[in-house]
Homo-oligomer: 157 residues x 3
């Protein structure tokens, strides 16, 4: 496979993508339908362990929330590359991200937290990485994770 | 209409699908666009009554939450069959489920709860029933329901 | 550009759409992919200020929540018109709305709140404005907004 510009950028950024997290329940990490890849929600876990467990605004500050969102994005990217057959070459556009911040009822900065994921998509895919997005604060997340992110991505058909 | 393999499986499982819940507000139970059916969120209601009202982790244990999620899935299936003209024959793939668990801020098992819905899709559709998914814990759900689930489903065009 | 029936209806309703809110974080107000426009979540803001800050069921009653949802819809419509090149003429169908109500854990009327958005889509687009929908109550929203709504819209290709 010819190495794609996106793959080169991942390498240039020194990013090492994690293994795709094994789903802890009955779902797939991604499902492709037509030219759209639907990526399942990923929490801030690495090697099977949730890295940040707790609530942003109580247990974690904004910068830590952003670091958690970035880990979610790394897991999404790992699943996306697998869905694309091992290279980011087929990626056409990151359509939409959904961002979920485990937070206290008075937390107001979900968008800033989720930038930790959006920024990484931008670093790798440039214009193609720009996306619509919805970011909300939620009562609870799987395994107590601080952040969860999902995505829809368009690929070349 | 020839009875489809999926319809036969519903019968073999002894499942009787409920009537499609009448929307309590200004929306449709489904909207088809191209070959994708977007199913509106369904709560754990039967015959107009919410079966499980309260919070998982406080009022209900995991097994009850799963039973609630299964009822959500039954309602989704009823809406899907209606959208498909009375048979599951046109179903190609269950693309994505969104699962919402009404829970306490320390609840960590949204994925396990939503398996109550995912498992039912798998029982009926087999490989075609496997899907991407996002499961989160939320502050509140319509009519105090314990669980709500929505779905995107691809049909043969 | 010929004025479309939908544009005429906006005028007949006396609606003046706001400027598309400038994203406060790293995302786009919309992304088009094929014949689908994915609209980013919009909160109840006007001219850069969140109009209703607080929780429905504690700080705001149902009617105020509906007014907040209507403002979200106005912002979505502004983004949609921009995505369509300045006219609603290309709009084919409002596929799906996602509604998020910043509320207390015992609030049960998210669907009624989100009607404030759905009704406006119906007033403008008629049958084409009818949509599937998921409405939930969430722990927190960006900038303390009372309501956030996002949407998928199909356009003529």
């Amino acid at each position: 496979m010819t190495e794609d510009i996106f793959d080169k950028r991942v390498a240039a950024l020194g990013l090492v993508l994690p293994a795709v997290p094994k789903p802890i329940a009955n779902f797939l990490p991604f499902r492709r339908e037509g030219s759209t890849i639907y990526l399942a929600g990923q929490v801030c876990e690495l090697e099977g362990e949730v890295v940040y467990r707790g609530k942003v605004g109580r247990d974690f500050d904004l910068a830590t929330g952003q670091a958690a969102a970035r880990i979610c994005a790394l897991n999404l990217l790992a699943a996306l590359r697998l869905a694309c057959g091992g290279s980011f070459g087929p990626v056409k556009a990151c359509i939409r991200l959904g961002g979920f911040v485990n937070c206290t009822p008075d937390f107001e900065q979900a968008p800033q937290v989720i930038n930790g994921a959006s920024d990484l998509f931008g670093e790798i895919f440039g214009e193609a990485g720009l996306h619509a997005r919805t970011a909300i604060g939620v009562a609870a997340l799987p395994r107590g994770a601080a952040v969860e992110v999902d995505a829809f991505v368009a690929v070349k058909s």
